[in-house]
Every structure is written in C-alpha cells, then in structure tokens.
C-alpha cells in the first residue's frame, strides 16, 4: 500500500448538542478504494463532508501529506483542488453546458490554458461516455448522465483523492449500473477513492477496504473479504444481515 495521503485525527462533529462524529481516527493511503457503509444517520455523509471541509469539524484535525489543513480559506481551496467530491445530487452548474461544467474550475482554479482545459474535459468526458453531450445543459440529461458528467468534471482537476457521497442514491435503478461501471473503471486507474454507498455488492467487489460506521464511530475497518463474510462487530453483523435479507 502507498504512502498516507490523508490522516484524520480525533475528528469530532456536533450539530448543536447532537454528536454526529465521535473522535474518528483514520489514515487514507494512496491507491486505496475505501467504501464506507452503515445505516442512515450513522454519520457517513457528514464524515465525508468533513474530509472535504464542507463541514467544519468541531474538534480534531485533518492532515494532507502530513500537513494540517488549517481553517483558512486559501488552505482549504488548495486542498479541495486535490481532493474532489462527487455528490448525491450531482450539483452540476445549471447555467453551463456539459463542456463548460468541465472547464470552469480547471480554468479559474488551476488557471490552465483554454486548449488544455478543453483537451482534459474531452478526454474525461470520453472516459465516462458523455463526450457527445458537450453542448447539453444539465436539465437536458438523465440522472445517470449527470452523475457521469459530475465524475468527469471532478477528474478534470487531476485530483489525488476523489470522494463520493452516495453517488447512486438519487438515481433510478436502471441508471445505477452505468455510474457504478464508470466508478469500477476508475478504481483500476490507481486513483484513491472514498465512497459512501448503500451498494453492498459494489463495496464488496471494488473496495480494498470497507468501513462500517455506527453512531458516529468507525465500528469496523477491514478488507471487504473479511467484513462481509466474517464481521467481528455484532452491529456490523446485524446491519449486514438486514441488508442481505432485504
């Protein structure tokens, strides 16, 4: 396994009195495909949003290549440019075409040339099979197409880590496959990925490490072969049996 990219130390998050995350410690190594599973309200999404700094942690810190990400906008911007995120609700920019969606951040954040931004956009859109739709606006696309564009858009930044926040939860069942296939392809490229998901089969087949979260804690952290076949924690067992039964 590669070197540690992101270290999470004692991360806690509360919304008012409600403690969502309780002192989470975790290292993310280069090339890992980490799937985070757990029931609703266990803090999975909040955890992911904290990693991208969309939520400010109440306590603890996040280190990127050993350097703490301070709560200063410039630090955060630089960090986010390397740690991308794909959302459940896609969040494509509604005022822009598919191509513009894929070029705006490389142009305005990385400040690369128009030609290079265009090449990157086309290449990544080809990877996800959306290149013919460069002139379409988000509202003209299906959910699966939007999510594939969102993935391409994140890839244009050449991120070191890509976070996925339930990327298929808002999709019609027949579109889940096309997005998961794109993600499976990505997993073979060596990109580090952290995926919050309810797709157990995907987590089992694709992840190199599966994390089960329960009530704001990492209840179990193991390779999928172990976690899915021989869970140590009774809560994990209970959760999995409910899933496999349902």
């Amino acid at each position: 396994m590669g070197e540690t990219v992101i270290s999470i130390k004692d991360l806690s998050k509360s919304f008012g009195k409600h403690e969502v995350l309780r002192k989470i410690d975790m290292d993310v190594n280069a090339g890992e495909i980490i799937c985070i599973v757990g029931s609703s309200g266990s803090g999975k999404s909040t955890f992911l949003r904290c990693i991208n700094k969309l939520e400010r942690q109440s306590a603890g810190k996040i280190l990127y290549h050993g350097k703490e990400i301070r709560d200063v906008q410039r630090d955060i911007n630089e960090y986010r440019a390397k740690v991308g995120m794909v959302f459940q609700s896609f969040n494509l920019f509604n005022n822009m075409t598919v191509l513009q969606n894929c070029m705006i951040c490389t142009r305005k954040v990385l400040r690369i040339s128009k030609e290079e931004a265009f090449d990157r956009a086309i290449n990544h859109l080809k990877e996800v099979g959306m290149a013919p739709y460069i002139h379409a606006k988000p509202f003209q696309l299906s959910g699966g197409q939007k999510q594939r564009v969102a993935i391409a858009r994140s890839l244009c930044m050449n991120p070191e880590v890509l976070l996925f926040d339930e990327p298929t939860s808002a999709l019609d069942p027949e579109m889940v496959g096309e997005v998961l296939n794109v993600m499976k392809e990505l997993a073979t490229t060596g990109l580090t990925m952290i995926i919050v998901t309810h797709e157990m089969a995907f987590a089992r087949d694709v992840s190199t490490r599966t994390i089960f979260m329960d009530r704001g804690l990492v209840a179990e952290d193991a390779p999928p072969s172990e976690l899915f076949t021989n869970p140590k924690n009774p809560r994990t067992r209970e959760f999995l049996s409910r899933y496999l039964a349902g």
């Binding site: 991208n52 969309l54 400010r56 301070r70 709560d71 200063v72 906008q73 911007n77 630089e78 960090y79 986010r80 440019a81 390397k82 991308g84 995120m85 959302f87 609700s89 896609f90 969040n91 494509l92 920019f93 509604n94 005022n95 075409t97 705006i104 951040c105 305005k108 954040v109 086309i122 859109l125 080809k126 099979g129 290149a131 013919p132 739709y133 460069i134 002139h135 379409a136 606006k137 509202f139 003209q140 969102a150 858009r153 994140s154 930044m157």
Partner: protein, 256 residues
C-alpha cells in the same frame, strides 16, 4: 386628425387643447421625455450595480476560521449595508429627494438638480435591488455552491461564475419591474426642480390654466414609454429562456 399637423388656432375641446399644447410645447415635452428617460435609465443601471454589491455583502458569511480583523470588517460592512437598505426602503422617495438635494446644498456643494435626481433614483433602486438580489441568491440551491467549493473554487469566484449568473436570470422580471417603476417615479423629482416630464406638464398647464389636458398629454407619453419597454423586456426574457434542444457533438460519437 388632419389638424394634428396643420395646427389648431382656436382650440375648444379637450382633445383640441391636447393637440394644441403638444404642438406649441413640443420641445418642452420632448426634452422632458428625454430627461425622464435619462434619469430613469442611468439611475436604474447604477442602482442595479449598487444593489448587486449590497446584496452580495448581505449574503456574506464570515467563516469560523477567519481571523478577527476580517470578521469585524465583514460585520461592519453588513451593518452599513443593512442600515442603508432599511433607511431607503422605509422613507418615501420624494422626501429623500428633498433631503439629499437641500442637504448637500447646505453643505456648500453646488449640485445640479439632474445629478441629485440620478443620485436619489440610484440610491432608492439600490436599496430595493439589494433585497431582490439577496432573495435571488437565496433561491439558488446550496448544492450549486458546494459543487464549486468542492473543486477548490473560492467563495467570491463561486458567487461570480456560478451563483450570480443563475440569480440574475431569475430576477430579470423584477429588474424590468424596477425600471418601469423608476420611469414613473422620476415624476416626483419635480420637487427639486428637475425639468422632467411632470415638470413640463406643470409648466405648460400653468400657462393656459389647462392642467387636465396638459397632464393627459404626459400620461399618454408615460403610457407609451412603459408599454414599449414592457414589450421589450418580455421579448428579452423569452430570448434568455433555455432552449430545450441541443446539438449532439457527432464528432465524438465514434468512441461510444
């Protein structure tokens, strides 16, 4: 209507008086119209700019991680912006005109009435627009911003490239409304001796003691102007609507 051009020497009916007055004081009415348009257009445009700035300031949030200086700075800015919006929305424009015009003259600054008129219009527009812009920004789903933030875009750039273009589109009808209101509200500027349409009618009417006919003339002018702009804005709005079709980029089809 032959006498429209030949002129009427001895007007009897109200209609004849209207034509007579229009012919006789054509230049005055035209100048008044021009000045009304000038103040309305300039005041509105500058007011929009001000409204956007104030609206953005009111939407600013100082993060918990920001340093103290920035926090205080943002808070003071927001307080000023809030006070400005409150004061101008809660007082009548006609009173603002008097206070600003005479107030600044009392300070010893020789200000032209037209300049004061534009100033009053823009300050008034700015206050209303600030609220509209704030509501427009608020109507854009937070996900739009998070999408940009998550790729390292700064909050300011996100506002500029992602949020404002979308908010702008949503508030175009309201902006058109504001302009039409301003076009009519310039009439109150006669109290600070701006020679706009209302002032023209007042002067013309006074010459012959024909106020009814004189004000009818400018009512027609106001109506025609507003009607015209209304249609223009409707067309613009339709133009800006999203097209439902798009061209497939066939050059990239082979890889599918």
């Amino acid at each position: 209507m032959g006498y429209l051009f030949s002129g009427i020497e001895d007007p009897q009916t109200s209609l004849e008086w209207m034509i007579y007055l229009t012919n006789k004081y054509l230049k005055m009415f035209l100048d008044g119209t021009k000045l009304t348009l000038y103040i309305a257009v300039l005041g509105t445009i500058l007011g929009f700019v001000l409204g956007y700035v104030i609206g953005i300031i009111q939407d600013m949030k100082s993060g918990e991680g920001d340093n103290v200086v920035k926090k205080i700075f943002v808070r003071i800015l927001k307080m000023i912006a809030g006070a400005y919006v409150e004061v101008f929305r809660d007082t009548p424009m006609i009173v603002q005109a008097m206070i600003i015009y005479y107030g600044i003259r009392q300070l010893g600054v020789d200000m032209q009435p037209v300049f004061a008129g534009i100033l009053v219009t823009l300050l008034n527009t700015g206050a209303y627009m600030a609220e509209t812009v704030r509501a427009g920004i608020g109507s854009i789903d937070i996900g739009q911003r998070e999408g940009a933030w998550a790729m390292g875009m700064s909050p300011m750039k996100t506002m500029l490239y992602i949020v404002l273009p979308q908010a702008f589109k949503n508030i175009i009808p309201e902006m058109a409304n504001t302009f039409l209101t301003n076009l009519k509200m310039t009439s109150v500027l006669n109290v600070i001796a701006v020679q706009e349409l209302f002032m023209a009618a007042k002067t013309v009417g006074g010459n012959y003691y024909k106020y009814f006919e004189s004000y009818l003339v400018i009512a027609v002018i106001y109506f025609v102007l507003c009607f015209f702009f209304n249609k223009l804005f409707n067309m613009l709005e339709k133009k800006l609507k999203d097209k439902t079709d798009y061209a497939l980029a066939v050059e990239y089809m082979d890889n599918q």
